[in-house]
C-alpha cells in the first residue's frame, strides 16, 4: 500500500510540475511533502479509482492524517477484502 501511494504521488507531482521531498518517509508531514491541496485531491481520486474505495468516506469518526505514515495506515485499515 505504501509503495502504491508513493507511486501515485510521484505521478501526480510529475504531471503537475511539483517536486516531492526525497526521501518520502513515514514521518514526512503531508503539508511538507511537495504536493499541494489539488495534488492531494487528485491523489484521493486516483486511489479510489485504483483501489476501489475512499477511506475518508467510510469513516464514522473522521481521522485526519498528518504524516505519510498516518495516510498509509488509514488506507490499510479500510482496505477492501480481496
Amino acid at each position: 500500500m505504501r509503495e502504491k501511494i508513493i507511486e501515485v504521488m510521484g505521478e501526480i507531482a510529475e504531471a503537475g510540475g511539483l517536486k516531492l521531498v526525497a526521501p518520502l518517509l513515514d514521518e514526512t508531514v503531508l503539508l511538507e511533502s511537495g504536493l499541494d491541496s489539488l495534488g492531494f485531491a487528485v491523489l484521493v481520486t486516483r486511489l479510489e479509482e485504483d483501489l476501489g474505495y475512499d477511506p475518508f468516506t467510510l469513516m464514522e469518526e473522521p481521522v485526519y492524517p498528518r504524516t505519510l505514515g498516518d495516510f498509509v495506515a488509514i488506507y490499510e485499515r479500510y482496505r477492501l477484502p480481496r
Binding site: G16, G17, L18, L31, D54, T57, L58, M59, P62
Partner: protein, 596 residues
C-alpha cells in the same frame, strides 16, 4: 416574443361569475340589497369592526367620513406627501387644506415626528395611508392624535391583509377606508368600504351615503341633509361576496408573490423592498423595489428595461406637493421627492406564474448588474458592501514573503469568459466535496456568480492569485452581515504558485475577518471526508463544534447531500461545523513564528 406581464389584475373564478349572474338575474326588488348586506357583514367580520358601509369607491368612503367629522373650509388635514391623489381630493372638495409631510425612508409611510411638527390649531385630522400594504407607525400616530385631540383616519385602500400587532389595517383609527378597485387584492370592479367602531359616526355616514336620508326618516324621499351618492351596487357586492369567501387565499397569493421577490431580490446590493417589521404582517398589495441613490438606477431606466421585456411596471407615486395645483411645497420632502425617482412597483397579480416572476426578477438583476459594471468602468469601485470587506488582501507566508493575493470577484469579472470557464472546470473536478453535485456548465456558473456572489451583499468570493497573477483557486465568505462570517467554497484549481498558497490564503482571509474587521469568530461547514482542507483548518485553529448527519438523495439527476434530514440514504461521513474564535486565532498567530 414573450407574453405581456400585467402589473395587476383581479383573480376571478367561477364563484364570482356565479354570484354576479345571480345578482343580475335575481338581485332586484326585495333582494336589491342582499349581496350588499352580506358583503358588509363579511367584511366587518374579517376586519373585526362593528360597522361597515359599502361604497362606490375608497375616495367616496373617505369623503363621507371626513364630512361626518366636520372637516371643512379653513381646516387642515395632515397626510403623507407620497400618496395617490385620491387621499387628498376629498380634503380639497370639503374646502380644507391638505398638509403634506414627508415619509419615512424604510416604510414609505408618514413620518410621525413630522406629523407632530405639522400640527396647528387648524388641524382636524391625520390620514394614515398604509402605502402599498406597508403599515404606518400606528402606535405613534394614535398617540399624537390623542395628545392633540385630532382623529386619525386610516386610508387602508392598499392594505387588505396587513396586520399591525394583532389588529387589521383599517380597524385602528377613527374610521378606515378600503378600495376594491380592479387592481386591488380583492375587487368589486370599482368600489370601496367605510368602516368604524364609532356608532355615532357610522349613523352620520350612513345618512350621508344615502343622499342625506336618515335611517329613521319615515317620509319618503325626504332628505335630512345634503348628502352623497357613493353607494355600491348589489351587482358589485355579489362579486365582493365571492372575493370575501376567498380572501385568505387571495392574501396568501399576494404574500407568496412577495416572498418570491424577496428571496430573489432583497439581497441585491442597493435594493430595498416593502418592509415587514416585527409584530406585523404586510398584505403586500404592491411589491415595490427601491434602488439606493448610489446605484444610479433611475425610474426611466427601470421603465425602459421592463418595457423591453413586455412587462408592465408602475411608477412610485409622485409627491403630491409637486402637483402644480396644490401650490404649496411640502416642508422637508427629502424622501417623498427622492424615492419615486429610483423606485418601481412590480407586477403582483395573484396568478403570476413562477416563470413570470423569474422574468421580472431577471430585469431587476440585470439593472443592478449593469449599474455595478458602470461604476466599475467609471473607476468608482463596486457598490460598498455592508461591512466594507477588502477588495484585495495580500497572501504572505510566515516570514512575510508575498506569495500572491486574494482578489475579490466583482461585476467586471462577469464578462471574463476565461474565468467563468476555469471556475466551471474547478467546480466539476471538485464536485465530490460539494453538498450538491451536478455537471456544472459555463452558463450555470455565470448565473451563479452574478446572482449569488456579485449581487449578494452579504457574500464575497476571492480569487487566489499567485505572484504572476495566475488564478490558482478561490475562497469565499458568507454571512458578512453577521458577526460570525462563514468561510466557503475553498478550491485549488491549478498547481501554480506556492504549494502552500491555499493555507496562507486562508490565514490571510481569516486574519482580515477576525483581526482587521473584528468579527468575533469565523465558522465553516465541511464534509468530513474532505480531509485536505480540514487539515488546513485545524492547523489554523478551527475546532469542530458540531457533527451533523449527512444523507444522500438523487433529485432530478443531481446528487444532494442533505444535512440532518430524515430523507435520503444515510452516509457514514458527517458534515462538520468548525469554528475559530478571535482569541484562538490570535494564539495561533503568536505561537507560530516558524510556520514556513
Amino acid at each position: 416574443m414573450s407574453n405581456r406581464i400585467l402589473y395587476t389584475k383581479p383573480s376571478i373564478t367561477e364563484l364570482e361569475v356565479r354570484y354576479a349572474t345571480d345578482a343580475a338575474a335575481n338581485g332586484w326588488g326585495d333582494h336589491c340589497y342582499d349581496y350588499i348586506n352580506r358583503f358588509e357583514a363579511a367584511f366587518r367580520q374579517h376586519l373585526g369592526v362593528q360597522y361597515a358601509i359599502a361604497t362606490s369607491s375608497c375616495t367616496g368612503a373617505l369623503h363621507m367620513g371626513m364630512a361626518a367629522l366636520g372637516i371643512g373650509p379653513g381646516d387642515e388635514v395632515i397626510l403623507a406627501d407620497t400618496n395617490w391623489i385620491a387621499t387628498a381630493s376629498p380634503i380639497v372638495h370639503l374646502g380644507a387644506k391638505p398638509v403634506f409631510v414627508d415619509i419615512l425612508e424604510d416604510s414609505w409611510c408618514l413620518d410621525p415626528a413630522l406629523v407632530e411638527a405639522a400640527i396647528t390649531p387648524k388641524t382636524k385630522a391625520i390620514v394614515a395611508v398604509h402605502l402599498y400594504g406597508n403599515l404606518c407607525d400606528m402606535d405613534a400616530l394614535l398617540a399624537i392624535g390623542e395628545k392633540y385631540g385630532v382623529p386619525v383616519i386610516e386610508d387602508a385602500a392598499e392594505a387588505i391583509g396587513s396586520v399591525y400587532h394583532g389588529k387589521r389595517a383599517g380597524s385602528m383609527g377613527k374610521f378606515g377606508a378600503f378600495s376594491f378597485h380592479g387592481t386591488k387584492t380583492i375587487t368589486t370592479g370599482e368600489g370601496g368600504i367605510f368602516v368604524t367602531n364609532d356608532a355615532e359616526l357610522y349613523e352620520q355616514v350612513l345618512t350621508l351615503s344615502n343622499h342625506g336620508r336618515a335611517r329613521g326618516q319615515t317620509t319618503q324621499f325626504w332628505p335630512d341633509m345634503v348628502g352623497f351618492k357613493y353607494k355600491m351596487s348589489n351587482l358589485q357586492a355579489a362579486i365582493g361576496c365571492a372575493q370575501m369567501e376567498r380572501i385568505d387565499e387571495l392574501i396568501g397569493q399576494k404574500r407568496r408573490i412577495f416572498s418570491y421577490y424577496r428571496e430573489q431580490l432583497c439581497h441585491l446590493p442597493g435594493v430595498s423592498m416593502n418592509p415587514e417589521p416585527d409584530g406585523t404582517a404586510n398584505g403586500y398589495w404592491m411589491p415595490t423595489v427601491v434602488f439606493a441613490p448610489e446605484t444610479g438606477i433611475r425610474r426611466e431606466d427601470i421603465q425602459s428595461a421592463f418595457a423591453a421585456e413586455t412587462i408592465d411596471a408602475r411608477v412610485f407615486f409622485w409627491p403630491l406637493s409637486s402637483l402644480p395645483f396644490f401650490g404649496e411645497a411640502c416642508l422637508d420632502s427629502t424622501n417623498s421627492q427622492s424615492i419615486p425617482g429610483r423606485a418601481i412597483n412590480l407586477p403582483s397579480y395573484h396568478d403570476l406564474t413562477a416563470s413570470d416572476l423569474e422574468r421580472v426578477c431577471d430585469v431587476v438583476k440585470q439593472l443592478v448588474s449593469q449599474s455595478r459594471l458602470k461604476q466599475a468602468d467609471a473607476g468608482e469601485g463596486d457598490v460598498p458592501l455592508a461591512l466594507n470587506i477588502q477588495d484585495e488582501i495580500s497572501i504572505r507566508n510566515g516570514q512575510g514573503r508575498v506569495l500572491g493575493r486574494l482578489r475579490r470577484i466583482t461585476a467586471v469579472d462577469l464578462t471574463d469568459s476565461a474565468l467563468i470557464s476555469a471556475l466551471t472546470a474547478w467546480r466539476n473536478s471538485n464536485q465530490r466535496f460539494f453538498l450538491t453535485q451536478f455537471q456544472a456548465t459555463e452558463s450555470r456558473t455565470a448565473n451563479w456568480l452574478r446572482d449569488s456572489v456579485v449581487m449578494d451583499n452579504s457574500r464575497a468570493m476571492y480569487l487566489i492569485q499567485d505572484n504572476s497573477n495566475v488564478n490558482v483557486g478561490h475562497l469565499g465568505i458568507l454571512h458578512l452581515d453577521s458577526d460570525t462570517p462563514e468561510l466557503d467554497n475553498m478550491i485549488r484549481g491549478v498547481s501554480d504558485g506556492d504549494p502552500k498558497i491555499m493555507y496562507w490564503a486562508e490565514i490571510a482571509l481569516v486574519n482580515s475577518l477576525l483581526v482587521a474587521r473584528g468579527a468575533a469568530k469565523v465558522c465553516l461547514h465541511v464534509l468530513s471526508n474532505n480531509w485536505i482542507p480540514i487539515g488546513i483548518h485545524q492547523l489554523i485553529g478551527f475546532e469542530t463544534a458540531e457533527k451533523l448527519s449527512v444523507s444522500k438523495k438523487n433529485l432530478e439527476g443531481e446528487i444532494h447531500y442533505l444535512i440532518d434530514s430524515d430523507e435520503g440514504e444515510p452516509q457514514k461521513f458527517k458534515c462538520l461545523r468548525m469554528v475559530l474564535s478571535r482569541s484562538k486565532f490570535r494564539h495561533f498567530l503568536s505561537s507560530n513564528t516558524t510556520w514556513d
